[in-house]
Amino acid sequence: MNASDLLGLIVLLPILVSVALYFFGWNGATQKMEVVSVLAIGVASVVIYLDSRHGKLLQFHNLLSGDALTAILLGLTCVVSTMAILASREYLERHPGDQTKLVQSNKGYAMAMQIFIAAMTLAVVSDNLGLTWVGIEATTISTAFLVAHKATTKASEAAWKYVIICSFGITIAFFGTVILYFSAINSGMSPANALVIHDLVKNASHMRNNATTLGLGLLLIGYATKVGLFPFHTWLADAHSQAPAPVSALMSGVLLSVAGGVLLRISEISRLSIGHKVFSDVLMTMGVATIVIAAMLLVRQKDYKRLYAYSSLENMGLIAVGIAVGSKIAIYGLIIQIVGHGISKGIVFITTGHIYDELGDTSIDSLRSLSHRSPILATFAIIGTVGILGFPPFLLFGGETSIAFGLIRSHDIIALIIVAGALLIAAISIYRHGIAMLFGPVGPGQDTRPFSIKTRATLMLFGASLLSLLLGIDGPNVTTIARAGANAIGVSL
């Protein structure tokens, strides 16, 4: 088997696993297969990274390709997916759905999860804008059932809003793809290559025209939907708050960043063709607006899952700002940001999942005295939150700092001040709610029983925390990898 076949394999494998799940049900064997299919992504990530270090681009029939950025995103997918799949077991044990209905059964859940992972992987390894679009849209469809898995009215509502808003945006991206294709063909590219990202990058300098601008603009706003950027940010909190915790972890930690990765690729085409100005102005506006909105909605938040959803939004806004800046330091920063956010958010959402399982309520007011009722969960919630807020030694610290430096260097001081102000408001709000939840007194009539957590779940969260800490400490390798990632999209000034 050729190394480049690995690209196809990792997309195919989860699909095969979901087929197996359909036929054999969700049992011990298929549960192992789930993990294997995800670990394969990790293996591929390593292989692709090692190959990219020799300047080799893995390619699979003009459709899939792998470079260092791919490897980073795949690695993140592997880590968070593993966490999500392991956490799903507890979730499913606690929340057995109607097993007669496929979409509510354990089997259906596991299948949707695998297809979701396959779709994300496809969006990451795709070298073809059309295929990327297919992958991203497929994530929407596969997660729709996952979001609605709890089968409550709220869950259905969230799923509906999620699918409608995301599809709206993603369809705009499809229109953008068509326009870009037209532009590429007009500039003399063959129809077979006109959507291949790497070829578009090579040919970009010949595509300096209005059609490209329009196409890129539409792609931008389209994929921004999936990143959760303003004005398409409205689905995110609903979907994240209603989805089962492992799904929230995967959506927030990986899916948003995968879409961010697509934006990053598009930004490269944009930089080389129409110049960065229009594209980055639009993206900057969207990113800053997203951060501000997220911060404002955090202030009086009443639901702890929404709280973390908006914190994801805030981090995605920062990533968007980083892409908009587009300089070396900003790109490094956002790559680190993506990885750090993914793992920390994974920890946080899975922890909130365990809390919800015990509490049965996601409102902030219902959760009090967590530090006494479960020191373990409290610890992981703190570790995750501290990571998300950009405290050292976690990765996000470097990410936020670099993006701030990048903003100054591109003379976007006003943007930086707005962003810093919004981050301040966001952090203060999280502190306020966090202190109330961790230490606040239990109200009259609320029960005070301690929460239980399985050793298996503790170990998994511990492993993830350790990983996030190690990544924070291992500066040299993280730098090398982030540099390789930035090189992959042509930023190595």
Partner: protein, 219 residues
């Protein structure tokens, strides 16, 4: 087929495409809208077929047939299942009333001309001259998505949106590569399928088909 006859047929067909789109904006009966969606998809199929015959491209002809199957048959049929067979089959509560809708549609058409001018200038062939028509249809679909309150009409608007993008693709580039178009088709089909499934879920939970009533989740 001569260039002249192809062009006039193409123009005629895309005009029909736009007409059906506009008609959906006007029509209130849900089943009527589904029928118009079918007609719209057939016009799209003809666009593909014409281009395929003109370019002597068998793949394109095959693709148009797939389009016919999925967009003119599959999707409208699924959407029709989301319409309650008893009770309210009318889109009576619109965010924007019918007269205003039609006026806005006219404005959108004008807007589409302005928008597409630089694109048309880029490659001034006769086929691309009809781009404003496709973009008008597309913008009308967007308009429908953001202003329609019934679940079924929202689905129809989505289907229209996709049709319009495909139409634009035919106008611009004789269709996008096969693998992409088929992937997109599959996605749209699945999307509509998912939405219908969710809709039936919601109907069993809330007895409502009005998306404006989805207000449980808010800040």
């Amino acid at each position: 087929m001569s260039v002249g006859s192809f062009t006039s047929l193409f123009y005629f067909d895309i005009g029909a495409f736009l007409f059906f789109t506009m008609a959906i904006a006007w029509r209130k009966s849900l089943f009527g809208q589904v029928r118009l969606l079918r007609a719209n998809a057939i016009a799209l199929f003809l666009l593909g077929l014409l281009s395929g015959i003109y370019a002597k491209d068998a793949a394109l002809i095959g693709l148009s047939i797939v389009i016919l199957l999925v967009r003119a048959y599959g999707i409208p049929t699924i959407i029709a299942r989301a319409i309650p067979h008893s009770g309210d089959q009318w889109e009576s509560t619109r965010v924007v009333n019918t007269t205003a809708s039609i006026l806005i549609v006219a404005a959108i058409t004008a807007f589409a001309y302005i928008l597409t001018e630089p694109l048309v200038a880029l490659n001034p062939t006769k086929r691309i001259a009809s781009l404003p028509v496709g973009v008008s249809a597309l913008l009308i679909a967007v308009f429908l998505i953001v202003t329609r309150r019934r679940i079924a009409t929202q689905l129809i608007a989505f289907a229209l949106f996709d049709n319009a993008i495909s139409a634009c693709a035919f106008v611009l580039t004789e269709g996008v590569p096969l693998v992409v178009e088929s992937g997109a088709l599959l996605d749209v089909l699945l999307l509509i399928f998912v939405l219908v499934a969710l809709a039936s879920n919601m109907r069993s939970q809330t007895q409502s088909m009005d998306i404006a009533e989805l207000r449980e989740l808010h800040e």
